[in-house]
């Protein structure tokens, strides 16, 4: 048949500089940010809004003797003062954590870490609220604290969690993965074994925007609108419904623009709950925004793993087995956000990128008198610790065998034909092609030349180091049969509506903290339907407007929500096919898809664009049986497996022999995240993660003194890289799509944070080889490097 009227040009045919689908396009969210029109938590102002502030414990471990709030309550601008006793009356003194523990919202019996929440003041303005904190008198009966995790299980260690009935020690869990017997057997017969103790110190995500909330409780209809800095608005709403007894349909959680998350904004913090309590008590909206010290001292820290690694290998460098034991410091409450069945997250990916005969790990989690938390900071659920362990150990082995560390890795990689690869702790790696990524990284670095330069410099007494790491990540949790958080399956939903004029709106359950979701997800719909990204609105961060799902962390947005969005678009495309068939008076099976339109097989001129189909769907066309009059769809995506991005990193450092100062001269990062949606955004994610890596490897640590005082409670003490500490990043990539993901994408948000610290530490250790140094712990600060040069390398804890 022939068409009888002119059709508009297919918008998807477009020009290469404005790709309709995947490719480099500018971010759709940027116009508001560059005008200062982002809307972050502290920008929200509601009529009559009051301000809350939290009084925190100055000591790490003490019994609460008394709290006198009378002077604070008498302050003319104060509207409410809340203590743990008041919350007990409301049954809100304790809240469940994401790890089946409870956490004190306000202390009732004891304080268990410095910075713990003790009282909450609501006042007319933020200055008055702070003034009133000064007026509260608290008497503490100081108890000895447990600061060092190594002491937590001593017989005479004070029991931190005496609130839990029957508790007689500080052990949270013992967990193991792999085959201990088989691993021991391999170690017994191996030519070479190496062992190394190492610490992944406690660090903090420290997004530039701190955490906060604005609670607006409506006493008439019992509805609660809660604006909060959350990476997981739906999970929060469900938990609030369970905890506070407010029916879920009466709760609306809105996550506005978020000034960085990195995992810090996954958990439910006492401050959020207190804002709600404040609003219920005063009948007014209440804002609470923490200051930087509160953020660093009380919200979710990361890492704090004390590890021992061992590798067994043949004399010629075939790695046979890896064994590790870990002491995990979880702080005063077990509030780590891990999938229920994975108390140590995905640490069991410590087998790395290598084809092993056996592997085994055991992890013991303990309570200490430190802030709770323990997943945050772009770690993909403890993959950061796992990758650090194995990549440091491979270098220890290389030093022992006097082999080049890049060659040793190349020799041991899982081979491309082995994928999907089942590792010795039960993961099924979806796809990988490791050697080309390693070789590309070496080529970009000019690896041979660097080694020559290093040899020359060593002759002259200069300290240059070259560090290699190769990581495999496991991201995109995950299949609901394996992964849940507090019983909620880790799936994500997407809803797509194509409006009558062919413009679209897609609604997501995940929430951006800077990753560019408004752009990336529009590009996925664009790729699938041929609607230009600028014609697709992405809605997220509001539980009233979006489908249920678990949110953005663990690099799961693209692997999970990206799958949901691709599938919902395909559902619309299928529906469009039937409508197009009706329009063209042909059978659906006679139609063929090209980006943006359905046309009759063998007659490309006879076709209908998505916009034409959308108008017809909402118009008067007689629709086929079973097709209703819209072009909408929804899905909930339960991923069949996780995805396994990987990368090869090379770091070049120069160490000042006089001061121990480490300068990262070059950093070459080759990443493979499968299908690339927007290369500009991917590159940005990599750059950010590499900078995190420099921070952790060289600068960042939250330390404590013997009394449990936090020594990293401000940006004076907790050092974050500025533009002066990082080089101009050099990036490259390979593309190995995920075979099971709808568009083959794997996730990139955390790869560089995971992969870069071992490359940097390996470089530092390499630079210090002339001093006989074979290991030093992070952070490689000038003082600690200088000590290592004197043969006095010490662990930070």
């Amino acid at each position: 048949m022939t068409t009888t009227h002119e059709h508009p040009a297919n918008p998807a045919a477009g020009d290469p500089d404005r790709p309709v689908g995947f490719g480099r396009i500018q971010r759709k969210e940027d116009p508001r940010f560059i005008r200062g029109k982002g809307r972050y938590i502290d920008d929200i102002v509601l009529p009559g809004m009051l301000h809350g502030a939290i009084l925190r414990s100055p000591v790490a471990h003490a019994r609460l003797v008394s709290i006198d709030i009378s002077a604070a309550a008498a302050h003319p601008k104060v509207k409410a003062v809340v203590t743990g006793k008041d919350l007990e009356g409301l049954k809100l003194a304790w809240a469940p954590t994401l790890s089946a523990d409870v956490q004190a919202v306000l202390a009732t019996d004891k304080v268990r870490f410095q910075g713990q929440e003790v009282a909450f003041v609501v006042a007319e303005d933020r200055y008055a609220a702070r003034d009133a904190l000064e007026l509260i008198e608290v008497e503490y009966d100081i108890l000895p604290p447990v600061v060092n995790a190594r002491r937590a299980l001593d017989a005479d260690a004070p029991v931190i969690r005496d609130d839990i009935e029957g508790r007689t020690d500080n052990r949270i869990f013992d967990w193991e993965m792999g085959d201990a017997g088989a691993t021991d057997a391999v170690f017994a017969r191996a030519d070479v074994t190496v062992a190394q103790e190492m610490v992944y110190p406690r660090v903090h995500p420290a997004p530039m925007e701190t955490c906060g909330a604005v609670a607006d409780f409506d006493p008439i209809d019992g509805g609660l609108t809660l604006y909060e800095t959350t990476q997981a608005p739906h999970a929060h709403r469900t938990l609030y419904a369970m905890v506070a007894g407010i029916p879920e349909h009466k709760i609306r959680v809105v996550s506005p623009d978020i000034g960085g998350g990195f995992g810090n904004k996954v958990g439910i913090y006492p401050g959020y709950i207190l804002a709600v309590v404040g609003s219920i008590l005063t009948g007014k909206p209440v804002k609470w925004v923490e200051d930087r010290s509160e953020n660093l001292m009380s919200t979710s820290f990361a890492r704090d793993y004390l590890m021992k690694g061992e590798i067994a290998a043949t004399r010629d460098g075939k790695i046979l087995a890896v064994r590790t034991s870990v002491l995990a410091d979880h702080g005063a409450f077990n509030a780590t956000a891990q999938p229920t069945k994975n108390p140590a997250g995905f640490f069991s990916i410590f087998t790395g990128s290598y084809d092993l005969e056996a592997a085994y790990c055991s992890v013991t989690g303990v309570y200490t008198n430190k802030a709770p938390g323990g997943v945050a900071y772009a770690c993909s659920f403890r993959v950061t610790e796992a990758v650090y362990l194995v990549e440091r150990m491979v270098d220890v082995l290389a030093a022992k065998l006097q082999m080049d560390p890049a060659e040793l890795r190349l020799k041991n990689f899982i081979r491309p034909e082995q994928f999907p690869y089942k590792n010795k702790t039960g993961w099924e790696y979806d796809s990988g092609n490791y050697a080309p990524a390693m070789r590309l990284s070496m080529q970009l670095a000019g690896y041979e030349d660097l080694r020559r330069e290093q040899a020359e410099k060593r002759e002259r007494g200069e300290l240059m180091g070259i560090g290699v790491s190769f990581f495999t990540e496991t991201v995109g949790a995950g299949p609901r049969k394996h992964f849940d958080i507090v019983g909620l399956g880790m799936a994500d939903g997407a809803e797509l509506r194509v409006h009558p004029t062919g413009k679209a709106v897609v609604r997501l359950s995940v929430q951006s903290q800077g990753q560019g979701h408004e752009t990336t997800f529009a590009q996925i719909v664009a790729e699938e339907l041929g609607i230009p990204p600028e014609d697709i609105d992405v809605v997220h961060g509001d539980t009233d407007q979006t489908p249920f799902g678990l949110g953005t962390y663990g690099s799961r947005s693209t692997p999970v929500s990206g799958g949901a969005v691709a599938l919902v678009a395909r559902k619309v495309r299928e529906k469009a096919k039937f409508i197009a068939a009706a329009m063209l008076e042909t059978r659906a099976e006679d139609l063929e898809w090209e980006k943006g339109r359905w046309f009759v097989k063998g007659d490309p001129g006879a076709g209908r664009t998505i916009a034409e189909i959308a108008l017809a769907a909402h118009g008067t066309l007689a629709l086929p049986e079973g097709i209703d009059g819209n072009l909408d769809a929804e899905v909930t995506y339960d991923p069949p497996n996780l995805t396994f991005p990987f990368g090869a990193y090379i770091c070049v450092v120069d160490v000042d022999p006089g001061t121990g100062r480490v300068k990262v001269r070059r950093f070459i990062a080759v990443d493979d995240c499968g299908t690339r949606i927007n290369p500009m955004i991917i590159e940005g994610q990599v750059h950010g993660g590499l900078t995190d890596g420099v921070g952790m490897a060289l600068m960042e640590i939250i330390e404590f003194d013997d009394d449990g005082n936090c020594l990293g409670g401000s940006f004076m003490d907790y050092l974050i890289p500025t533009a002066m500490e990082v080089p101009d990043w050099e990036t490259g990539f390979t593309v190995t799509p995920s075979p099971h993901h709808p568009i083959g994408a794997k996730g990139i948000g955390e790869s560089a944070t995971v992969g870069s610290p071992p490359a940097i530490v390996n470089a530092v250790v390499d630079a210090l080889a002339p001093f006989g140094v074979t290991h030093m712990d992070m952070p490689c600060t000038p003082a600690r490097v200088w000590e290592a040069m004197q043969g006095r390398a010490t662990p930070p804890v």
Binding site: R27, Y127, R292, G514, P679, G688, D728
Partner: protein, 170 residues
């Protein structure tokens, strides 16, 4: 006490407590929330505004000390509806992710370019070295400022389409 100052070209006068910080004055009294706040110790620079053309950390300036002076915030970067080249550069070169540090970074960049229209990479890095970005890793911020330096008359033009080369591909 009463303070008066010129903010983004407009004269403003308010009655305030003497202790009020300039950052809070700008955000809460004037409702200009593009200026952010991120630390207690003058380290982060998310609060940077231009005071008489100089970048200052507005969390460390009393509103009272800005009395009689000129303040420029991110809301005053665009003029007559045209974006400043710095704003365009940040979009073209992906100089922002979460956007929280961005207003401060852009104002520092503007002040730098006003003094030195052709800064080299080190000069750009030094200029922003008192400010933290937790998202971008700085390289794209440097490129954004370079973009602005190369397009001094870009105001009013549509933003660049990002034609620089893609990463090296295997």
């Amino acid at each position: 006490m009463q303070v008066s100052m010129k903010v983004n070209g407009e004269e403003v006068t308010r009655e305030i407590e003497p202790r009020v910080l300039l950052v809070h004055f700008i955000r809460e009294e004037l409702g200009l929330t593009g200026t952010h706040w991120g630390c207690d110790t003058t380290n982060c620079g998310t609060c940077v505004v231009l005071l008489d053309g100089q970048p200052v950390k507005s969390c460390t300036v009393l509103a009272a000390s800005a009395h009689g002076h000129e303040v420029r915030t991110v809301e005053g970067l665009a003029s007559n509806g045209s974006l400043d080249p710095v704003q365009q550069g940040f979009m073209a070169e992906h100089g922002l992710q979460c956007g929280f540090c961005t207003p401060g970074m852009m104002l520092t960049a503007r002040a730098l370019l006003d003094k030195n229209p052709h800064p080299d990479e080190l000069q750009i890095r030094q200029a922003i070295s008192g400010q933290i970005c937790r998202c971008t890793g700085y390289a794209t911020i440097v490129r954004s400022v370079q973009w602005a330096a190369e397009h001094p008359a870009a105001a009013g033009d549509p933003p660049g389409t990002g034609t620089d080369e893609e990463d090296v591909r295997a």
